[in-house]
């Protein structure tokens, strides 16, 4: 009997934390440790499946931060702690964690894109000795959509952190406003060799942010992105995520930017 890769397994939800009015972090019991940057196909029987990145890894648990945007992602928000959530995975390649060691890490993340890089930050937060420095650049649509507030407050203590919103409001007075690209120049890059830039966010944001870094002298092969494509299977069969000769679900979602640029939709 061969293995059915499409069959999801139940995982118990430990807790649910509201992050914004459309996003919650679901913590679930987990018996294995995925690579940071990998994703799971999250299943709700009767509703459907969707790919979701890991937004946190601990011993015996995983976090997933899910924004309610459609069918399955909205239905997930009706679950309660103790309920089962169905998963298959982990899928994809994940971030090159080992290659980051001993380097200056710059992370630029927009909106939902903050969740897949959260475990990278947590990892180096707990092991700051493994890198030379870390700069964090976060962009959100508006202040109500800022994710991981408490985490960010904590990260700020150790790392240079810039948060900006596209649209401000009264509670945001005196803070950064504008697109993430406008703040790229504020990041000081002493050594263009020994560094990695990680950019995760909506396709347009990733493109312009990468271009901005390149303008400031960063080589495209020093930039790492996590690509998002329509997915159905997560295992290289359904064809939806194919770009060029690559399957985002298999060969990605994490790509070096010089490689990603060769993938033309």
């Amino acid at each position: 009997m061969c293995n059915n890769h499409l069959k999801p397994r139940p995982y118990r939800l430990l807790s649910i934390k509201k992050e914004s009015f459309t996003e919650c972090t679901f913590r679930l019991e987990c018996d294995h440790t995925p690579v940071i940057g990998q994703f799971y196909e999250v299943s709700l029987p009767r509703v459907g499946e969707m790919p979701i990145s890991i937004s946190g890894i601990g011993s015996g648990w995983l976090d997933m931060t899910i924004r309610a945007v459609g069918h399955v992602s909205t239905a997930v928000h009706t679950l309660k702690p103790g309920d089962n959530i169905f998963l298959r995975g982990p899928y994809g390649n994940g971030f090159p964690m080992a290659e980051m060691e001993g380097k200056h890490i710059i992370i630029a993340a927009g909106g939902c894109g903050v969740s897949p890089i959260r475990p990278i930050i947590e990892h180096f937060y707990n092991h700051p000795e493994k890198i030379t420095a870390m700069d964090l650049l976060f962009g959100f649509k508006d202040p109500s959509l800022v994710l991981f507030n408490q985490d960010i407050d904590r990260w700020k203590e150790k790392f240079n952190t810039i948060i900006t919103v596209d649209q401000s409001c009264s509670t945001w007075e005196g803070k950064n406003v504008g697109l993430i690209t406008e703040y790229v120049k504020q990041v000081k890059i002493p050594d263009f060799q020994n560094m990695e830039v990680i950019i995760v966010g909506p396709p347009i944001m990733m493109k312009f942010t990468a271009q901005e870094f390149i303008k400031h002298g960063v080589a495209s092969e020093r930039i790492i992105v996590s690509m998002e494509r329509r997915m159905s299977c997560g295992v290289g069969k359904c064809g939806h995520c194919k770009v060029g000769d690559k399957y985002v679900c298999l060969d990605g979602p994490v790509f070096r930017y010089d490689q990603a640029q060769l993938l033309i939709d």
């Binding site: 061969c2 293995n3 059915n4 890769h5 499409l6 069959k7 999801p8 139940p10 709700l44 029987p45 009767r46 509703v47 459907g48 499946e49 969707m50 945007v69 459609g70 069918h71 992602s73 089962n84 169905f86 909506p202 396709p203 998002e228 494509r229 329509r230 159905s232 299977c233 295992v235 290289g236 069969k237 359904c238 064809g239 939806h240 194919k242 770009v243 060029g244 000769d245 399957y247 679900c249 298999l250 033309i264 939709d265």
Partner: protein, 341 residues
Amino acid sequence: MGKSLSHNEFNVLLGALAKDYNIYAPARFEKQGRFSDTDIIRYRQVSQVEEIVWQAKSTYSPKEVVMPVTQTLFYFTQTEYREPETDTRPCLVFLRACDINGFASLDKIYLENGGTEDIYYKRLREKVKFILIECHTSFDNCFCVSMGANTTDNYSMAVRFGEENIQLELKDEQLAGYLDNIGQGNDFKPQFIQENKIKVNVPSVAEMPDWIYNDQMWKQYDHRCIACGRCNTTCVTCSCYTALDVLYDDNCQVGERRRVWASCHIDGFTDMAGGHGFRKENGARMRFKVFHKIYDFNKRFGKHMCVGCGRCDDNCPEYISYSNCINILNDRLKEGEKASV
């Protein structure tokens, strides 16, 4: 081993085989064509040689045998996923050389890509034995020779249909018993088509240059292609699907997860929640399909996906010729090369 059989003898053979195999062949579906009073030819189970349409190319490909249009993946209740039972009877499929080679493309995706096997495909696929239908002549739009898919030795039996009698070659010892007392022995070997009317020059570039992706050659398809997807649904090598969950109307607690064929030409193929999608222009979809068939797939698996069956050209309602598109592409690349020297 070869044999010559009368049609009656062949029916006796089919009868004997039917005891142990489901036999699939291209058959005529009368008045089921797109236009009234026209027929289509597609695969179904047959029991008589008279049902087998060997004189014409089938409208839809034999992939339907291993890749049903709609396939149930799981039945579920709120708390569990249950796999459906599968028919375990082995199958014999009558098909042509291009289609046999087409299965090899499907195998790459479903049995190799990403190092995992799709068990739904595998369960159906491993039951299949091929019976080669020898092509007497090349049909309209065929270009199997250009794709190197005109020949094969991957079959259990090969058959030359004729009005008078039927010649066959047996390669698979497991089927020998069925032939013991039937027909005249001979040394029949199938012939393969050596030349098609349509010839395609597949570009032999290692890397497609950047500019070709946005070249003006694709623009014409923006308005010519209506994104109907027939070129994908009739193609023997298109393998894409979309999974979805459905609830049974009479009991909202139970339902199934199923998959259905998907097509990269049809709207929505790349759409993500929130409406963002890629390749909005139909010309870009044409380029994506063409590159998949004769470039991307080859880069990944070392074999062209397309086998030159020509069904995409047979069935495009807008008279878009995929084979001609490859030739245009080849010419453009050559011109481009010259221009860049």
